[in-house]
């Protein structure tokens, strides 16, 4: 019966229903769009931060005038104080090469690295180091290279060159050409998809940079930064410094590694991103604020239009009361109406908001977004919240209607 009442009430007053529906749908759409964009940006940032991948970047220090790190220093990383907290590391050597395959040709980055190298360090257990260990999210179609002339290609580059696993390609640097056998295509979700990855030793000889490395990524088990960890070690007391040094903050591990790599500078990767991170935080709170604002205004719109229809419907409410409806029954009818509108409004708002988020991120942020799963419940819930917040005042008004006054004469 409740549904019969609500259905007929909708059919009879399509305009009023449409108004409420639009207010709710708008609110839900704005909430979906803003939260979707905010969430997506945070997600992308989180990927950048690589929270569980490498968290320390070793580069040649600027003081040394650019240059390179020495490959010979690498095993020392396994001998530092925090050696047991370092779960893996990978050296990289970058160079620009003319890469050609199947008649297509382009300039691209060739990157020499370790994939899964057996590393023997005197006095320590042997271990396997390389990309495979520190970048477990790399998705290789095919297999990892094993021989010196095998390589894997980033997905974007592979698409442009039309290369798949099993093909061959040539890389030319300064007149020297080397032929690689492509054994896999790698998807990483990052800039790596633009590169060609080959064993370090091969790339070193191709670039004429024997024994040299341009950067090292280190992955370490660290303690989350707290206020103590952020203190400047230079200003600590001796006791504090001891505790800081013996706590596996990413900064102290980085400092530890830096000490053994000649001419290097270690940066915790979050440091690179922290400037962007605080900007992101601000952006997110602006987004959140705008979302709340949009929801409040759409709740106000809902409230206003319900108020208007309530005064139009007061004879009907008075009649229901006279026939014997108690407050719960009256509320059930009117809250039921708004909730049903809000479900429809939530679904439509979600669809609209998704499109809106797509358009905004294309035009403003110049990136596509994949809508996360949690957006749908968020849209529905925000529609509910808008509907309920908007119907509190009108419902109170309805419950206060006195049948005697309205039905008189």
């Amino acid at each position: 019966m409740l549904f019969r009442i609500i259905k007929n009430s909708f059919l009879k007053r399509p305009k009023a229903v449409l108004l409420v529906f639009l207010s709710i749908a708008m609110g839900a759409a704005v909430a979906t769009a803003f939260l979707g964009i905010a969430g997506e940006i945070s997600h992308k940032m989180a990927l950048e931060l690589r929270s569980y991948g490498a968290n320390i970047l070793l580069e040649p220090s600027a003081a040394q005038g650019g240059g390179f790190l020495r490959e010979d220093d690498l095993p020392k990383i396994k001998t530092v104080f925090w050696k047991y907290n370092i779960t893996g590391f990978t050296p990289y050597l970058f160079g620009v090469a003319d890469i050609s395959a199947g008649g297509k040709k382009e300039r691209g980055v060739i990157s020499g690295t370790w994939f899964a190298k057996q590393l023997e360090v005197p006095g320590e257990d042997s271990s396997v180091q390389g990309i495979k260990g520190i970048a477990p999210w790399w998705d290789v179609q095919g297999r990892w290279p094993e021989d010196a002339d095998e390589a894997i290609v980033g997905a974007t580059m592979a698409k442009r060159l039309g290369v798949v696993a099993g093909k061959e390609l040539d890389a030319t640097v300064g007149g020297r050409t080397r032929r690689f056998h492509v054994v896999g295509v790698v998807t990483t979700g990052g800039y790596e998809e633009e590169q060609l990855f080959a064993p370090l030793i091969t790339v070193q000889s191709l670039l004429q940079r024997q024994g040299k490395v341009s950067r090292v990524l280190v992955s370490a088990l660290t303690v989350p930064m707290d206020d103590f960890g952020k203190k400047d070690p230079a200003s600590m007391t001796k006791e504090e410094y001891e505790k800081w040094y013996c706590t596996a903050y990413v900064t102290s591990v980085a400092k530890n590694v830096e000490e053994v790599m000649a001419g290097s500078r270690a940066k915790p990767i979050w440091q690179i991103a922290s400037a962007e991170g605080s900007l992101l935080k601000k952006l997110n709170s602006v987004m959140l604020f705008l979302t709340v604002l949009a929801l409040v205004s759409s709740a106000t719109a809902v409230s206003t239009s319900l108020m208007a229809s309530m005064s139009e419907r007061s004879p009907e409410i008075a009649l229901m009361k006279a026939v014997g409806a108690d407050r719960l029954q009256i509320s059930a009818i009117f809250v039921g109406e708004t909730l049903i509108i809000s479900i429809a409004g939530g679904v439509v708002g979600y669809l609209l908001g998704n499109q809106l988020a797509g358009i905004i991120s294309r035009t403003v942020f110049n990136s596509t977004i994949a809508s996360p799963l949690w957006l749908f419940p968020t849209a529905i819930i925000s529609a509910f919240v808008v509907a309920i917040a908007g119907s509190v005042v009108p419902l109170r008004r309805a419950l206060l209607i006195e049948p005697v006054r309205v039905l008189k004469g």
Binding site: L2, R4, L319, K321, V323, D326, L407
Partner: protein
């Protein structure tokens, strides 16, 4: 000795300074048809609203069907209205977007659970078997009032209240409605209180009381 269904003692209702109903003592025995007459503003509608649990007195006591209406909460009054009273208004108050049968079912829904078959037969009983699916806009005044009667009696009330139920009807429809009420009362044996300013309508009752300025001025027993 028939028991009184309504007992009032010094029943008073005032709106601010205006006293709509001066202290009134009234007994209505069960099964009686009582007509209440008076000019507009004489307090007759106020009396009916108080008895029907739509309004609360400012002083005095009011017992209807053994229930002390002053002691009931707002929801308690709602329960009293749906289980004990049927009300018919002067302006045929139906929910505009519901059909005739749905308007009757509405009363069933508030009372307990809707039962469409029963609602249909109630409408057939008031001679509207052919207009079940029509909305109020498509019904004449007399037809609407008959829907209201069907709705008022659907929950088998002990007390039927009419606030000038024929006030807006022509003579032919008035007679039809009154005949119907009489018939139904014979079957269901409910008590009727009917407010009217029409002498002919009042004459359908067993007893007529006259109110003037909130005071009971005269009482008349019909001889049928």
């Amino acid at each position: 000795m028939v028991e009184s269904i309504i007992e009032t003692n010094g029943l008073t209702r005032s709106y601010g300074d205006i006293c709509a109903l001066k202290p009134l003592d009234l007994q209505v025995p069960e099964g009686e048809w009582l007509s209440v007459m008076g000019h507009s503003g004489s307090g007759k509608s106020t009396l009916m609203n108080l008895v029907g649990g739509l309004d609360r007195p400012t002083a005095g006591s009011l017992r209807v069907g053994g229930e002390d209406l002053l002691a009931l909460s707002e929801d308690g009054l709602a329960r009293f209205r749906r289980e004990f009273v049927g009300i018919i208004f002067q302006q045929h108050h139906m929910v505009p977007y519901l059909t005739a049968v749905e308007n009757v079912m509405l009363a069933q829904y508030f009372h307990s659970v809707p039962d469409e078959a029963e609602a249909r037969s109630a409408l057939e009983r008031v001679g509207l078997g052919h207009r079940l699916k029509n909305r109020p806009g498509e019904l004449s005044g007399g037809e609407q009032q008959r829907v209201c009667i069907a709705r008022a009696i659907i929950n088998s009330p002990k007390l039927l209240l009419g606030d000038e139920p024929t006030g807006n009807l022509d003579h032919k429809s008035t007679v039809m409605v009154m005949e119907l009420l009489k018939e139904l009362r014979a079957e269901e044996r409910f008590t009727v209180i009917m407010v009217t300013h029409n002498q002919d309508v009042a004459a359908w009752g067993d007893r007529t009381i006259y109110l003037d300025d909130g005071v009971l001025v005269r009482e008349e027993r019909m001889k049928s």
